[in-house]
């Protein structure tokens, strides 16, 4: 199929950006979206132009790197699908496809479609861990009984790949779905309960500091999340934070 691409080009963090129009020909429906981008880049390199910079790593839907806002939606039109897992058969011959980077003050553009998502790393550093001694005497996790429902909910939350589509989709650029998935994953399990109050307070404080917006429960994050992370996690975080603030601590 032949396609018209409108791609965001920006030469550096402080440079002015603009949409550029390109044509690609003979794209197979079996190609992934990123392979289609590779075709475009090969074409640009041949012509002696700068290829389009975009993030990617695993190309199998697990690393969360392939951030692209495609036709007005993060990761494009398919539900529960990352850009690398999106196939060109989702498009028709003659289509025009708009491709932009994630837009959030906490995700500044580095170049073209690549953004800096280290704000997520700093939120994790603020509390997205459990403090255990790993120097050789670690307990077998299976030795601690965990109710099945809690284990399932924790596992569901743990499937978050930190891709940032939730932030990209949200009209407030809120990171609540991501942060609440991490808070839930840890605090639902006995090993994480011990630090639950401190964790939620610190992670929310860091989230605010990074300049993410507030949740207005539009549900866009849940609808666009490639891993189907539920809004239930946000409610759980709201509950945990309230509890943590109202419980007298040190």
């Amino acid at each position: 199929m032949n396609l018209t691409l409108k791609v965001w080009r920006q030469s550096g963090p402080d440079a002015e950006g603009r949409m550029e129009t390109y044509q690609v020909k003979d794209i197979s429906g079996d190609m992934s979206f990123l392979e289609m981008m590779d075709v475009l880049n090969a074409q640009l390199i041949e012509k002696g132009e700068e290829p389009v910079v975009f993030d990617h790593d695993c190309r199998e839907g697990i690393c969360g790197m392939c951030s692209m806002y495609i036709n007005g939606r993060p990761h494009g039109p398919k539900q529960h699908t990352t850009t690398c897992q999106l196939h060109m058969r989702s498009f028709k011959d003659g289509d025009t496809i708009h491709i932009e980077p994630w837009r959030a003050s906490a995700f500044p553009v580095i170049k073209d479609l690549m953004v800096d998502r280290s704000s997520f790393d700093r939120v994790i550093q603020a509390g997205g861990y459990i403090s255990v001694n790993t120097s050789g005497n670690t307990l077998d996790a299976n030795a601690i009984p965990v109710p099945k429902d809690d284990a399932d909910a924790a596992f569901d939350a743990a499937t978050c790949i930190g891709c940032g589509a939730c932030v990209a989709a949200c009209k407030n650029a809120s990171a609540m779905l991501f942060v609440s998935a991490k808070v839930s994953q840890l605090s639902l399990l006995p090993q994480g309960k011990v630090e639950a109050a401190e964790r939620v307070k610190n992670m929310v404080a860091q989230m605010d500091k990074e300049g993410f917006g507030n949740c207005t429960v539009t549900g866009a994050c849940e609808a666009e999340c490639p891993k189907g992370i539920s809004l239930e996690n946000i409610a759980r975080m709201n509950r945990e934070y309230l509890k943590a603030q109202l419980t007298p601590g040190k």
């Binding site: 036709n71 007005g72 549900g219 975080m237 709201n238 509950r239 945990e240």
Partner: protein, 228 residues
Amino acid sequence: MSSSALLKSSLAKKYWMAFTGLFLCLFLVGHLAGNLQLFIPGEEGQLQFNAYAKFMTTNPLVQALSYIVYLSIIFHAVDGALLTVKNRKARPVNYQYSNPSANSPWTSRNMGILGTVILVFIVVHMSNFWYEMHFGQIPTDADGNKDLHTVVVAAFTDASIGLVYVIGYVLAMAAISFHLVHGFQSAFQSLGVRSKSLMKPIQIAGYLFAILIPLAFAVIPVYIHATH
């Protein structure tokens, strides 16, 4: 406990939005109970409505409650405006091409606009009736109470502007309805009240409340306009 976090953090701001919002939902029910008395016909209805209005403006307990309502409205509006400003800042550069209706309902994305419409309505509404009742020169009825009933009927049946008031009122109730369709359910989510078994009941209650309460309010001026 850090008291500043209970005011300033993003989550706390949402707790307050939810809390004041739900409180104002309760207020709507109370207000509606009063308005429904406008359906009582004849002089009996007039006297009863005016006696009720007097009770609502002089009873100390009701007065204390009404100050909490004023504060809640102001707090809800200011907190909402602050949140909106912060949310705009979180995305300084917008997308060139966006398709938000693919992933979220219109009401959920336009609470600020709906809220502003409602706020404008509240100002007009209070200057029409609340201000008149408290500070205006209005005649008294057979029992010697301020005749708010006649002021209300006159407003909605006025030959030149009555119909405009009725239409404006109905549109404002529609705005409240859309605001509540999203707001009612969301308040519970913001306060963390959610579980698999609670989801459905909260949703159903939310839709019923958001449709029935504004509808009952809206029917009254239409009825007055049609029957006087």
